[in-house]
């Protein structure tokens, strides 16, 4: 199973995601700030990153760029409660694999992760 990096500033959501993804067999590392996320992405490659968009002074889009720099094949899935069109456009144009709106069904997240894994096995990467 793939290892995952979860970036989420809200501890309740973060814990829920970690518990769920571990139960689904992923090796999960979770951080609460962009600084920690960028440090982790410099330290190692993650095939999949699940990140909130609105975090602290920097956003999930900064995480997305760092992840793509670290591993061009990394699938970044962004989450937010604010589903504005501009945010979706920024996320997809920045190379995010997909965008998921809070609150979401766990199965929806799982399906997105499965698609990300499948795309990594195929010759092209994208969402």
């Amino acid at each position: 199973m793939n290892s995952l990096l979860v970036v989420e500033d809200d501890s309740a959501v973060r814990n829920t995601l970690v518990t769920f993804l571990e139960l689904e067999g992923y090796q999960v590392e979770a951080v609460s700030t962009t600084r920690e996320a960028l440090d982790r992405l410099v330290a190692r490659d993650y095939p999949i990153v699940v990140s909130d968009i609105y975090l602290d002074e920097r956003t999930g889009l900064d995480v997305l760029q760092a992840a793509r720099r670290s591993n061009p094949n990394c699938a970044v899935i962004l989450m937010t409660g604010r589903g504005s069109m501009e945010t979706v456009m920024d996320a997809t144009q920045g190379g995010a694999f997909d965008y998921i709106a809070k609150p979401f069904e766990l199965d929806d997240l799982l399906a997105t992760l499965r698609r990300a894994e499948a795309s990594m096995r195929s010759p092209t990467v994208g969402g």
Binding site: A12, V13, T16, L23, Y54, D56, G81, P103, E105
Partner: protein, 616 residues
Amino acid sequence: MKRSDKAGYVAMLAACFFVALAAGWTRLGAQFDADVYDFLFGLNPPEAAEFSSVVVGIDEESLADGGVGALRRLLAEALPGIAASEPKAVVVDLILADRGDEAEDGALAEAFARTPNLILATGLRRSGEGWDDPRPEFAKSAAAIAHVHSDPDPYDNVLRQIPLEKALGRRRVWALALEAFRLSRGGGAIVEDPAGVEVGGIRIPARRDDARSMRIHYLRPAAQAEGAIPEVPLAWFRNNAGGHPALRGKVVFVGITADSAAQDRHMTPYSFGHAMPGVQIHANAYETMARQDFLRPASNLAVVAACLLLTVAAGVLFWRYSGWRAYGPALALLGLAHVAPYAAFRNGWVFPYAPPFSTAWLSIAAAATAQYFFVRGRLGRSEAEKERYQRAIHFVAHEMRTPLTAIQGSSELMGRYKLPEEKRGEMARMINAESKRLARLIQAFLDVERLTAGQVELKRAPFDLRDVVDVCLGRVKSLAEGKRIAVETKPMEAVIVDGDRELMEYAVYNLLTNAIKYSPAGTRVSIGGGMAGSACRLSVEDQGIGMDEQEMKGLFRKFYRTKKAEASGEKGTGIGLSLVQQIVTHHGGRVEVASTPGAGSCFTIVIPASVPQPGS
């Protein structure tokens, strides 16, 4: 409309009223009034009716036999015929002050002596030192000596009124027309009071303080035969024996009408470039009296009252109504201002045109413009408020989605997986905590709305402000640590505030989180204060992005965020500081701000407080 808006609106209309009124009484306004007055004569010509006077004109034909030098002889020859016509009175509009040919003067004196109800003319000398009275041999036969003066408008030289009296020293002389009217009415006395004179029971409006001026309601000029006062050439009496039937029972005005000889000619409202001989003007003045067709000038008070009424009406219209409900009546008001002088003229009143005209236009234009800008401003504010409100709703919705995600996910996990008991307990506690968080969020949002609408009642109870500061410091600890910001507390004495502790916590917490959110990492935020008089000053100081004066102006507006705050990437609705101010104001206090761009800000809550009593 706010009180200041109302005051501004009233002040603007008052200014319009005074400016318009003053403009109406300038030279330009007076000329405008005079032109309209003349125009109204054309619109409202007097009906042709029985005349009480006849003009015996010394025209070109009459002067053919000897010219102006033979005037006395010509007059002496014609007077027997005029007298034989049995007129009511004969007015000779000629100054006969100088000595002429002895034989001619003798013949004229004899003719005057045989003319009943004779009125001879006099006039003030140009030097103003005396009267040009008729020679004594003429005057002794006259029933009255009357003046020939007129009162042309100083601006355009049009003769619209005559002075009924002229005085020099202790001698006062009535006008030719008035004396003629008196003799035609039986020759009684002229009774006078400040507002007018009365002759044979007929009251003539001519104010004493206006030199007894009487407006002449002109009949059509002689050039327009129909409706003009009948005229008989003096030559007719030389060529015909006996009297002229047209003169019987009339007042006869004898004077020069020949263009080549008449020097006393004046423009009248009917002139259109052709001056009217003085004798015809006197006859017209007489007809005004005989027909009692007077034109009374409206009093200044009436004009001011009418203008004030127009301004008030315009102001009320645009204050209370908008759209066609305001513009329709406003048009009617404009129409009224234009038509009223005409209606007044038809009823014998001279109402100036310029003051109501300028007042109506200026007041309506100003009121409509003010309404336009007020409505546009209100619309703009409403749009901005709506936009800010929508941003806040988006923010709140996002804040709600986060605990919802945790609740939804955790409950799904508990139902789907067989979790260890410890994990299940942890999940249940999380669901409980997040549900409460959600409830708090909803409550806070509702409180915000109620507080904004002024519907919140303070739960007052005495509390120590230091306890509030301690609680808030605990709540912001993790946020400050996350940003590596040092929060320090300055030493603070015990301060008792009688107020709503929960709301005060919100206010202090809000100031602290703002200070931390908008400060760069590695800086310091400090909080502290103490009593100053009967109030406590609690300050939160940071080393953050700061604000300039322009940004500080809108700081406490609901949903307002400075550009720097927007650019910082920090989440915020822009409602926090507005609520802080409302909470503090509800407690009878105020919020003071000092800030320097790039150096930091200091927010100070100043609130009524006291120091604890010993033993309390």
